[in-house]
Symmetry: C2
Subunit: 332 residues, 2 copies
DNA sequence: ATTAATTATGCAACCGGTTGCATTGAAGGA
DNA sequence: TCCTTCAATGCAACCGGTTGCATAATTAAT
C-alpha cells in the first residue's frame, strides 16, 4: 500500500506516466483539466515520488553535506557548534534540501567518509571545516566538480576555495578597546602554546590586539611560552606584565585557555584582581567565580552565510560571493 | 572524466556490465581471472559506483536519519547532545551507512521534514527524540514500515516502539545516596514547574530520589510550586526545608534549574552553605562559584545503543532487543 | 570421445522517475 | 473547406546500477 509509483498514478488517471511527471514538475504544457484530475488522484492516494529515482533521473541528490574531522575539537567537541548547525539547517530547509552530516572517519582499509561522499556523489554540495581541506581533499573536490564552502578561514588560496569566518581581527580589537575603556592599560594576551598559535584564528586575534594597543600607545605583550603551564608560571612570576607587575587584564584566545587560567586561579587568589576576557560566550559565564568579558560571535549567522554561499554555487548563480567575514560585537 | 559508469568499466574489460556488477557485489560465480582483470581496471580508473543508482536498484538508501524537534531544547540546544551524536555516528560508520541529520521544521504550506523523510524513503531507519513521536508520526512510520528507535523513554507503549534512555530512577538514587554519604539528612529535590514535571525523566528522577529517602527513613520533599520563581521564593523563606530550616542539599533536576539556583544565589549568600547536585556534567562545573555534585551520564553509550538497536531492526535480525536502559555512575 | 553436470558470462528486464521527439487533436487563417 | 500552427499527450530512451534466466564454456563422469 505504501509502494505507490508514478505508473500507478498514471494508470488511475488513464494517462501516460510522462504526463504525471510533467504535473509533478510544474510543466506548463498540461491542460487544466488533466492537471486537476492527476493532482486529485495524487492527493487522494497520498502519492509521494520516490526521491532516489528522482535523484537518478536528475543526477542530483537534493542533499547538502557537512563533513568534519572526527577528532576535531573545534567542531562537535565545541559546545557552541550546534549554533552553526542551526544556521546551516535553516537555510537548507528553505531550499527544500536535506542535510547530511558526517564525521570523516579515517580509512581503515577502505575509503574515508569524505572520499566516499564525494566519489559516490552522495551530496550536491559540501560544507567542511578548514581543518579538513588538505591538498588531497581539495583535488578530489575539484575533480568531481563538487561545490564546497569552508567553515573557518582557510590559508589555502587556491581557485574555488571559499570560506566563511568570523572577523577575528576585529573581535580582538573590540575586546581590547573594551578593556581600555574600562581603564586598563596593562593588557596581556594569552595565546597558548606555539602549535596553537599557528592557527589562523589565533594569529588574527593577536593581530587585532596588537593593532589597538599600538594605536593607543600601549605595549602589546603576548604570552609566548612553549606550553601553557610555562606561560602560567611566567605569569605568576610577573614576567608577563609590565615591569614585573601583574597585568590588569588578560585576553584568553580560546575558552580552553580561559579555563586554564581559572584552574590556576585556585592557587593564586590575586588573580581575582585581574580582568579576564575571551571570544566565546558560554551561557554559563555569568555563573563563574570570576567575571569574564567576551565578544558575541554570531555563529548562527556564520552557518547561514556558509549555506547561502554554497547554494549559490550549487545553483551556478552568475556571481557567487567570494569568502565572507562575519562581524562581531561586544557584549560584556 | 569523473563520470565513469559501470558500462565504461565493462567496455574496458570487454565484458557485460552484469559481470562487473557481480564483481562489485562479491558474487562468487566469477572466474578468478575475470575478477582480477575487472578489479584492476576499476582500481586503475578509480571507479566508484553511483550510490543513487545503487539505491534505486536495491530499493535502499544506506542512510540512517536523525530527526529532532526544531525547537527542542533537549536536543541541539543541549550542550551535551553532541556526545549522543558521536555515539550514533560511530556505529553508523561501522555499518558503512551514512548519517542524515535534520530538524523537523513544521510544515509551512507543505510537508514537514519528518513527513518528507519517511514518505520519500530517504532513509532506511530513523532515530528520533521522544518528543517527536506523536500518534500521527507513529502511524506514518508504521504505514511506511520504517524502522525507528526513540532517544529518550517514551510513554507510548505501542507495538514497535523501542527506546533507549538513561536509567533516571537509578541516577537520582545514586545522587541521593551520595548526598546522604556526605552526611546530609535534609535533602530537597527541585523539580521545576508543573509542566516540566510531567516529563517522564523528571518523574523518574523524583521517583529515584523518593525511594532512597524513604528507605533511609528521611523525609522526601519536592519543591512543587507552580513556577520556578515561586519555588525559589518559598525556598528562600525556608518552607522547602525541614521545619522552616534551610535544607543541607538541593538536587536540581535539570541544569537549567541549577542555573536558576545559582542566579538566585547572587542575592542570597547563605545558599553557599548548601550542597547542590544535578544530572549533567558540564566540563565547566569545576569552575563554578558553587561546587556541584553530579552523576555521569554516558551519552555516547546511549547513542551507540540506539544506533545498534536500529540496525538490528533494519537488518531484520531474528531477535531485536526491546527498549534499553543505560546505567549511570556517580562522579562527584 | 561423448554426454552430463557445473561454472562463468551475456541478455534483457527492472528499480521509478525524467525528457526529447513524434503524434494527435483542436483552433486559426486563407 | 483545407492547410497551417500550436498546445496536449504518448512513446521510448535514458539515468546507472542489479538480477533471473538463458546460453556458452568448462570440467567431470561414463
Amino acid at each position: 500500500m505504501s509502494k505507490l509509483t508514478i505508473q500507478n498514478i498514471a494508470d488511475l488517471a488513464g494517462v501516460n506516466k510522462a504526463t504525471v511527471s510533467r504535473v509533478l514538475n510544474g510543466n506548463t504544457n498540461i491542460s487544466e483539466k488533466t492537471r486537476l484530475k492527476i493532482e486529485k488522484i495524487m492527493k487522494e492516494h497520498n502519492y509521494v515520488p520516490n526521491s532516489i529515482a528522482r535523484g537518478l533521473a536528475f543526477n542530483k541528490t537534493f542533499t547538502v553535506g557537512f563533513c568534519f574531522d572526527y577528532t576535531d575539537k573545534k567542531a562537535f567537541a565545541n559546545p557552541f557548534f550546534y549554533k552553526v548547525l542551526q544556521g546551516i539547517e535553516d537555510v537548507i530547509y528553505d531550499n527544500e534540501y536535506l542535510f547530511l552530516m558526517m564525521s570523516d572517519h579515517d580509512k581503515k582499509g577502505g575509503k574515508s567518509t569524505f572520499e566516499r561522499i564525494v566519489e559516490e556523489h552522495r551530496v550536491d554540495g559540501l560544507l567542511l571545516p578548514d581543518t579538513l581541506l588538505n591538498q588531497a581533499n581539495y583535488d578530489l573536490l575539484m575533480k568531481h566538480e563538487m561545490p564546497f564552502v569552508i567553515i573557518g578561514e582557510h590559508s589555502l588560496r587556491q581557485e574555488g576555495v571559499r570560506w566563511v569566518d568570523v572577523d577575528n581581527v576585529q573581535a580582538a580589537a573590540i575586546l581590547t578597546e573594551r578593556l581600555i575603556a574600562l581603564g586598563h592599560r596593562s593588557i596581556v594576551m594569552y595565546a597558548g602554546a606555539a602549535e596553537v598559535r599557528r592557527d589562523k584564528f589565533i594569529a588574527d586575534r593577536m593581530e587585532g590586539y596588537k593593532a589597538v594597543m599600538e594605536q593607543r600607545g600601549l605595549e602589546a605583550r603576548i604570552m609566548e611560552q612553549a606550553d601553557s603551564l610555562g606561560a602560567l608560571k611566567a605569569f605568576e612570576g610577573g614576567e608577563a606584565g609590565d615591569g614585573g607587575q601583574n597585568p590588569e587584564a588578560v585576553i584568553c584566545c580560546t575558552h580552553e585557555l580561559l579555563f586554564e587560567m581559572l584552574d590556576w586561579e585556585h592557587g593564586n587568589p590575586m588573580l581575582k584582581e585581574i580582568s579576564l576576557a575571551t571570544f566565546d560566550n558560554y551561557p554559563m559565564f555569568r555563573h563563574l567565580k570570576h567575571p569574564v568579558h567576551y565578544v558575541e560571535i554570531d555563529l548562527e549567522m556564520m552557518g547561514k552565510q556558509a549555506a547561502g554561499l554554497l547554494f549559490s554555487l550549487i545553483n551556478k548563480e552568475a556571481d557567487p560571493a567570494q569568502s565572507i567575514r562575519i562581524p562581531t560585537s561586544i557584549v560584556n
